[in-house]
């Protein structure tokens, strides 16, 4: 069965390496946006988390939250990260250079939420067309709904 990593221990180790900003809770670790790439690289190389399960985003009134799930298949351990970024000019370093599996998922978040992933090799819209205005999955998306009223 999958076990979860000890987040408090992980927070302490990451703080030793990279500085302040890591908050551990029972089921996830909050990582500051500017240290995402470095923390991820540390976890991948030092702790053998070689499988990038998924990344997704959620839109709250005062922030965007990005949720990452990383797994180590050989040890069957799971680590969940949360990255909180602001709603104005949201930008997070991309993990597509560490794990190839992150590239399409980050493009989708860029397309539907408008969160920039700096360092992504090919950041452009993926499911919507280029002239589409707005970011649909944001809560304040006032796009035209092409329902029967039109």
């Amino acid at each position: 069965m999958t076990t979860t990593i000890d987040y408090k221990d992980l927070a302490v180790r990451l703080q030793e390496q990279f500085g302040e900003g890591f908050t551990a809770s029972t089921d996830c670790l909050e990582v500051p946006p500017n240290l995402v790439a470095k923390a991820a690289e540390y976890i991948k190389n030092m702790l053998d988390f070689n499988y990038f399960d998924m990344v997704t985003a959620a839109d709250y009134p005062d922030r965007f939250e990005l949720i990452y799930r990383l797994q180590s298949l050989s040890h069957n351990v799971l680590a969940t990260f949360k990255v909180i970024c602001s709603r104005e000019n949201p930008s997070v370093p991309s993990l597509a250079n560490l794990w190839l599996g992150a590239s399409l998922q980050e493009r989708e978040i860029y397309d539907l939420f408008g969160i920039e992933f700096s360092g992504h090799p090919n950041l452009k819209r993926i499911v919507l067309w280029d002239d589409f205005e707005g970011y649909p999955l944001r809560k304040d998306f006032k796009g035209k709904v092409y329902g029967t009223a039109n």
Binding site: M1, T2, N50, Y51, F52, D53, M54, T56, A58, D59, I67, R69, L73, N76, T80, W99, L100, G101, A102, S103, L104, Q105, E108, L112, R125, I126, V127, L128, W129, P136, L137, F141
Partner: protein, 367 residues
């Protein structure tokens, strides 16, 4: 005097019989060899995740069916598991066994279609496809007996399944379980040793296990490359820890191994259904749940082993009767990440086979 050549961009367009749905690839060709591939997605983006925020929890169950429309029952499962975890809803044992039986039947039907489409791409021109559809019709009949629908069943509910099985289901299932291994043997005898199939799939689209893990592949894509990772064993959900079954693994990571993994998984699914029918207790098929369910505030992520890979559901609830955010981790989209690496350097005809062996379903890729 060398003949001057230049690369040529070919559009394998959204409406193409070999693309298993509306998928587009812009291929840069140098003669027959592919130099670059740019996949274009989004021709079936229906805004499902935004619609999930508009409807109540129960109204979203038929929406989830339309994700991977080839294997519809498996799509309900992570969503109802997520809501049950947030809402503290208990599922009776009989319902769990019914979910497993229907899920495994659906896995067989989905793999039949995957293998049949791959055979189509190889040029058998519908013979193997029609044979496999003959078996798929038997499975659809069984599922129609239970749910009333042929393709998009809307079968699972919070706290169980929608209806208990009628009296004629178990005898019909027993008849199906008796004849199906014979049909699988028939396919093996026609296809597995066939030299055309061997020459077209062996050594094509080789993906090493490191590349598969790095590209977040899952399901038969990952197992075909030799990685022993199956959520039914490694992160067992529902009652899968009570069954004995094997996980088929490939050695080389080529298209042939992925085809063999799918054929073997069908046999293992038959084993699981046998055991589930024997072990299934009597009892209720679902417990009562409020009509306008308001799960507790919080967030949860559940995942199951769908036929195409790891299907996950990330659900955020804010205490009202509609979800705040519902995201589906689509295995078909993530398996396609590695498409470009696999296709570069191959010939165009091999590219179609590689793409067919990834086995996508566009409803899931675009959501």
């Amino acid at each position: 005097m060398a003949l001057p050549t230049e690369p040529f961009i070919l559009n394998i367009g959204p409406l193409h019989p070999s693309t298993h749905g509306v998928f587009r690839m812009r291929v840069t060709l140098d003669g027959e060899i592919i130099q670059d591939v740019e996949p274009v997605f989004g021709y079936l983006h229906r805004g499902l995740e935004k619609l999930c925020e508009k409807y109540t929890y129960k109204q979203n169950i038929p929406l989830t069916d339309r994700l991977d429309y080839v294997s519809a029952i498996n799509n309900n499962w992570p969503y109802v598991m997520a809501v049950e975890q947030l809402g503290g809803i208990v599922v009776p044992q009989r319902a769990e066994y019914l979910r497993v039986i229907m899920g495994e039947l659906q896995r067989i039907a989905s793999h039949l279609l995957a293998v049949g489409s791959l055979m189509n791409d190889m040029g058998i021109f519908y013979t193997a496809f029609m044979y496999m559809f003959r078996e798929r019709e038997k499975i659809i009949d069984l599922l129609e007996m239970v749910s009333g629908q042929r393709l998009l069943y809307n079968y699972m509910r919070f706290g169980g399944v929608s209806m208990d099985i009628p009296t004629e289901f178990l005898p019909a299932l027993a008849r199906f379980l008796k004849v199906m291994p014979g049909f699988l043997d028939e396919y093996d005898s026609m296809l597995t040793g066939n030299e055309i199939l061997l020459s077209r799939t062996k050594g094509i689209g080789v993906m090493s296990s490191e590349m598969a893990i790095n590209a977040s592949a899952s399901g038969p894509m990952l197992r075909g490359s030799g990685v022993k990772w199956d959520l039914r064993k490694d992160a067992a959900y529902s009652v899968y820890d009570k069954f004995e079954f094997d996980i088929p693994i490939g050695q080389n990571g080529d298209c042939y191994d992925r085809y063999r993994v799918r054929m073997e998984e069908m046999r293992q699914s038959l084993r699981i259904i046998h055991q589930a029918v024997e072990q299934m207790p009597a009892g209720k098929e679902k417990l009562p749940v409020p009509l306008r369910l308001r799960p507790a505030k919080g967030e949860v992520y559940t995942q199951i082993e769908a036929p195409r890979g790891t299907l996950g559901c990330y659900l955020v609830s804010d205490g009202t009767e509609k979800p705040y955010r519902c995201h589906f981790r689509a295995p078909a989209l993530i398996n396609l990440t590695v498409l470009r690496n696999l296709l570069i350097g191959q010939k165009l005809a091999d590219a179609i086979i590689i793409f067919g062996s990834i086995d996508i379903s566009m409803g899931e890729v675009d959501r």
